[in-house]
């Protein structure tokens, strides 16, 4: 064995010491804190205002915390606020949105994932043309298609129904979701697909047994994209549904923009927060998965 020697060292050795309050750190964290405050401030104002009574709001101290905390505006926003003719708050809109979002998300993701899988792994004739057309669809402005779709839905007898809106959402989710899934499946090792074919698995066998279990991250991304996108949609909701089936965003607009009487800022704030709560929750719950999925699928072309 070699001799163990310890030298007496002088001068710099080991890890280089770093100061906590270096100029670099102050600048970096200072900027981050400023930006964070800037973005958090509106939310703070909303939360604070929504818990004040109207007299307190009239005092005009936007940033001051509520003296008397009240949840009455929240209750009113949910179940009593007037949207046009009816006065049952956001609750109807919320349940409409749920009934629109869930089937749209499931249908669009189910179809788009199979599309992406077929485009990535089963090179059929005309696959490239099909893909190009689909991607091209992503660049056509929605406004161009609004009225033609109204006619199509009317002819099918679906205009004004939730089913019609679900179909519209499913179709409009197709280009971006297919691209997402295709890129993800392309990034999976091709040899896995080949091995499964040698093992005698068919189109659906490979999809369900091999591809699906490996695609949790990209499915998470797709769910988030679709839930937030469809939940936040206003245009399609207002165009393709009738007042009794308006989604939550349209109901919110009707509450906030109703012109008669006093503007109840606290109710408006509460209603806005309630509407935004669903996408917000989804982001908080799935933050890490979302980032991982985006990194896994969306970057590679």
């Amino acid at each position: 064995m070699a001799d163990v020697t310890r030298y007496a060292l002088t001068g710099p050795q080991g890890p280089k010491p770093r100061r906590t309050f270096s100029r670099r750190n102050i600048f970096l964290y200072g900027t981050l804190i400023m930006v964070a405050l800037y973005y958090a401030l509106p939310l703070y104002v909303m939360v604070v205002t929504s818990m004040k009574g109207m007299p307190e709001i009239r005092l005009g101290n936007v940033f001051s915390p509520p003296v008397e905390v009240t949840f009455a505006p929240w209750v009113k926003a949910w179940s009593e606020a007037c949207t046009g003719l009816t006065c049952d708050g956001l609750s109807t809109g919320f349940w409409n949105s749920v009934r629109i979002t869930i089937p749209s998300v499931i249908a669009s993701i189910a179809i788009a994932s199979v599309n992406g899988y077929a485009l990535a792994n089963w090179k059929f004739k005309g696959a490239d043309v099909f893909f190009t057309i689909l991607i091209f669809g992503a660049f056509i402005p929605y406004q161009v298609m609004l009225y033609p779709i109204v006619i199509m839905l009317r002819e099918m007898g679906l205009y004004g129904s939730l089913t019609g809106l679900v179909i519209v959402h499913t179709i409009f989710g197709m280009p971006i979701l297919t691209l997402l899934f295709r890129n993800y499946f392309t990034s999976l090792p091709e040899e896995l697909f080949k091995a499964a074919r040698v093992d005698g698995a068919g189109f659906w066998g490979i999809y369900f047994r091999i591809m699906l279990p490996m695609s949790v991250p990209i499915f998470t991304v797709a769910v988030i994209l679709q839930v937030t996108g469809i939940w936040n949609d206003f245009l399609f909701g207002v165009v393709y549904t009738r007042p009794d089936s308006y989604p939550m965003t349209v109901a919110l607009n009707n509450i906030v923009n109703s012109t008669q009487g006093v503007k109840e800022y606290n109710v408006n704030m509460a209603a806005t927060i309630i509407t935004g709560l669903v996408p917000l929750t989804i982001y908080f719950v799935s933050g890490k998965l979302f980032v991982r999925g985006i990194a896994a699928g969306a970057v590679k072309g």
Binding site: E191, K194, D199, G205
Partner: protein, 359 residues
């Protein structure tokens, strides 16, 4: 009818790129055939065609006397092992082994029996309940081989199975694959770019370049009598020395040196003069006491020495070009020394300068 795999007039094109051109190959039952070539030569593509993972542009593939050109991969009676192992990550080892059998609709008892047998042969019984992520590279490749093994097929296809492993593991698994072949006596087609793997494993080697088979023969033939300059340079490490010169009346003249070619077996009697390239393997140059028996002898000065332990590689200048010689690892030489070399034309190779074919 003794051939296990027959490939007839096979063409494969990707758009305008011709990857395989009119390729013919017969592989005998129980034979270990290695497809060897540098990357992009079409060897993996050929293997994928045999497996049915790529549609061919023209030609036929027969396996065990059946035309399988249009058959699905699973119907061809093949098992395949991939470079990246391609184990299904969400399944246990057992799940990986049984996936193909379940797809084929085999009875549970039969599946269990086959997995047991394969696990015994490959010594992976303790790993059956583990997921691939919990296995080392060597274990993963063993499972991948097992997946081909349980299918109970006639033909095994290996697509660079050892390339992802470190050097020591590669050597170990190489021996295991050879032993497996000796025990099972299946036909095996093995793609690699590693000439050591090719030489040690193969019954026959097919050297491929640009979608064509350059030479098909036993490792001995390919090493000893390469059919052209490309094969000669590709096989052997360190690679063959080439001397560009003129051949006239049994004398090879290069850079003012004349080497008598007496004892060289010409492939044909037609050409005995003209521009030629003489190829001499570094290990076929003799040094020391053995020089006196060599038909041609010369003195050179050493430029560079590369000791590898078992051998010492010596670089020198000879006949106006670089020349490498393999000496014994015990040889005491240093840069600047003059040593005497002996060359035996019987072990050398001569190629036509223009066609690069063996003379």
């Amino acid at each position: 009818m003794n051939n296990s795999v027959e490939i007839k007039n096979l063409d494969l094109e990707f758009g305008t790129v011709k990857v395989l051109q009119n390729l013919n190959l017969d592989i005998g039952a129980g034979e270990f055939l290695v497809l060897l070539g540098s990357s992009g030569c079409g060897k993996s593509t050929l293997l994928n065609c045999i497996a049915g993972l790529l549609d061919v542009s023209a030609g036929q593939i027969h396996i065990k006397g059946t035309n399988v050109t249009w058959a699905e991969p699973s119907e061809r009676g093949i098992g395949m092992v991939f470079q990246s192992y391609a184990l299904y990550p969400q399944m246990t080892v057992e799940g990986n082994l049984s996936f193909g059998l379940k797809n084929a609709g085999l009875a549970k008892t039969e599946i269990a029996a086959r997995i047991k047998r394969a696990a015994e042969i490959l010594q992976i019984e303790p790993l059956l309940k583990r997921k691939p992520a919990a296995l080392s590279g060597g274990q993963r490749q063993r499972v991948a081989i097992g997946r081909a093994l349980v299918r109970d097929v006639d033909v095994f296809l290996f697509d660079e199975p050892l390339s992802n492993l470190d050097a020591k593991l590669r050597a170990d698994l190489r021996v295991e694959i050879k032993r497996l072949h000796q025990n099972l006596k299946n036909t095996m087609i093995y793609v690699t770019h590693d000439q050591i793997e090719a030489m040690t494993l193969a019954d026959r080697i097919a050297i491929m370049r640009d979608g064509k088979i350059m030479q098909l023969g036993s490792p001995d033939e390919i090493y000893g009598r390469p059919i052209n300059k490309y094969v000669a340079g590709f096989i052997g490490s360190p690679s063959m020395n080439f001397l560009e010169g003129e051949l006239s009346d049994g004398l090879f003249e290069v850079g003012g040196v004349s080497i008598p070619m007496a004892g060289y077996e010409f492939a044909s009697t037609a050409t005995t003069s003209g521009g030629a390239t003489l190829g001499i393997r570094p290990e076929h140059v003799v040094t020391g006491e053995l020089v006196v028996n060599a038909p041609f002898q010369t003195d050179v000065t050493i430029d560079l020495i590369e000791p590898t332990g078992s051998d010492t590689l010596v670089d020198c200048e000879f006949a106006g070009g670089r020349f490498r010689v393999r000496m014994d690892g015990q040889a005491k030489v240093s840069v600047g020394d003059t040593i005497r070399l002996g060359i035996d034309p019987a072990r050398a190779s001569l190629f036509d300068r223009d066609t690069e074919l063996r003379l």
